[in-house]
Assembly symmetry: C2
Homo-oligomer: 315 residues x 2
């Protein structure tokens, strides 16, 4: 595959920085657009000195994007900018409206105006809502229960209509929980922070029975790049996620184990941590596995690696 000029929105974020490193490693020019609200400039340290540019801007700002697209001649956009903190938007649904959906619309409209034809999109299993069983890509109806899921579904809708209307091609990865180094929030971080504050006790929201698959960011990026290379429909939708599942209880135990301490774990009770949280996620990844993808780490391995990093960085 020849070198391309790729815009990675949200590239300073947790998953974004892993994506940027992989693109740079294969020889692409990488341009990151990020408002540094959730992303961190230092996550991109490994790209400095290479064919790399960092543009600090809000991806929902169409005028700022327009300038960037005019300066660069992008071959493709990997669109990862989003609000990634599902729990917070209950109090303010505009957070996901603007940061998760309007970012997508702004990117699509810039692509339309500047003739960019490829978009790779970080979607989510949250668009499936509380669907039961191993969810395949053709599951319906889609009834998200979080604004984050709604905003990602809204994004998918416009990606599809832009693809059809302006001859673009899209790769849409729907994934649940991703963990790994440079992650900035989520349960593993909460646990690490709590342990730093009170080493003898770890309070866990809910009853710890929520059970989900976890995937390491590097394995996720592998899957996305493989799909981008191999799938060739106008709109390519695929699930990707850990092949095994892990309970929040086991996750808490792993974090305590990795901390080297012996903290007591207390549960607040209830079958979910916050409104919009999905208690049990199961996931059909047959499509991406049929292309030869398999994760190097299982859920426990991914969580353990992430826990080590979070503990080393004080949450």
């Amino acid at each position: 595959m020849s070198a391309r000029n790729v815009l990675v929105t949200g590239g300073a974020g947790f998953i974004g920085c892993h994506m940027c490193e992989r693109l740079a490693a294969r020889g692409d020019r990488v341009v990151v657009a990020d408002n540094l609200l959730l992303g961190r400039r230092e996550h991109l340290a490994m790209l400095e000195g290479g064919d790399f540019r960092f543009a600090e801007l809000d991806v929902a700002d169409g005028a700022a994007l327009d300038t960037l697209f005019a300066e660069e001649r992008f071959d493709a956009v990997v669109h990862m900018a989003a609000n990634s903190d599902i729990a917070t938007s209950h109090a303010n649904p505009r957070v996901d409206l603007v940061n998760t959906f309007q970012t997508t619309f702004a990117v699509l409209d810039a692509m339309r105006r500047h003739g960019v034809k490829q978009i790779v999109f970080a979607s989510t299993s949250a668009i499936y809502g509380e669907a039961k069983g191993a969810i395949p890509e053709d599951h319906g109806p889609l009834v998200p229960i979080s604004h984050y899921g709604a905003a990602k579904l809204a994004s998918e809708g416009f990606i599809a209509s832009f693809a059809e209307n302006y001859g673009m091609q899209a790769w849409i990865a729907r994934f649940p929980n991703v963990v790994g180094d440079r992650s900035t929030h989520g349960a593993i971080h909460d646990f690490a922070r709590k342990l730093a504050a009170t080493p003898g006790r770890l309070e866990v929201l809910g009853d710890g029975t929520q059970i989900k698959p976890y995937i390491h960011a590097d394995d996720l990026v592998d899957a996305i790049l493989l799909a981008w290379e191999r799938m060739d429909a106008r709109v390519n939708i695929f699930n990707v996620g850990g092949l095994t599942r892990l309970s929040v209880r086991r996750m808490a135990e792993i974090v305590v184990e990795e901390s080297g301490g012996n903290a007591r774990i207390d549960y607040t009770g209830g079958d979910r941590g916050w409104i919009g949280d999905v208690p049990s996620v199961e996931y059909d990844t047959a499509l991406i596995r049929s292309l030869g993808w398999t994760p190097r780490l299982d859920s426990e391995g991914a969580v353990r690696a992430a826990a080590r990093w979070a503990l080393d960085h004080n949450g």
Copy 2:
């Protein structure tokens, strides 16, 4: 069912005015919010003097909605405000972003702030994109090909997340082509206008083979009110549409027949009238029919009634 105070957004539009009349007939107070961009004040003539209020405002304008919600204590919102002209938004995708999607978000956010718990939503078969066969409600994946379909899918997503987050209940009617009196645009109107200009010849975009079910607005409103009364999940999604299908060719013939003239019909060729048009729609309405609904007019009857009205009003 006791009388309610119902906000009908887009109530001066084609389908909206039929809905308003039915709500008024069952004793509800009806408040219409409409910017009169596509709607017409005179469509609501039958409601004047009753328990009725007309508020000229843009439903995407959250502040205007906020004032209206503070003045009225709504029991429910029937949200029909949207861009209804699918073909135009190819050139400007912001039309559907603002008029079809942001209207929905603004309505939902006003409902959240003012504690309104019921929303009835006019969705569309366009969210299914080019799906083949008789499409059921659980069809997936949803890959809309028009911005209109994308904006309605985006609306459905946020309706679902608002319902979950704030204890609302939603009825989502997904329907294809609706025809009838007070319609303001669409193929029947184009044909009537063309015949008025050149009575001897009717030019039809495409090859006339596009085949779709048509439903009369009154039959659609029947289905929506029945679902609202009988379906009781948090988010109730149902298809509704004509049970028979009609080709564009037959539609053109009906308009010519009803005109009393003998115009020659010419076809421009191609399997669709515009980008985003879906050449063949088939539709599974088993769910709403299982509740006892059946349309009074078949596709031909509905189109014939609409053609008479359009011809009487010079398109």
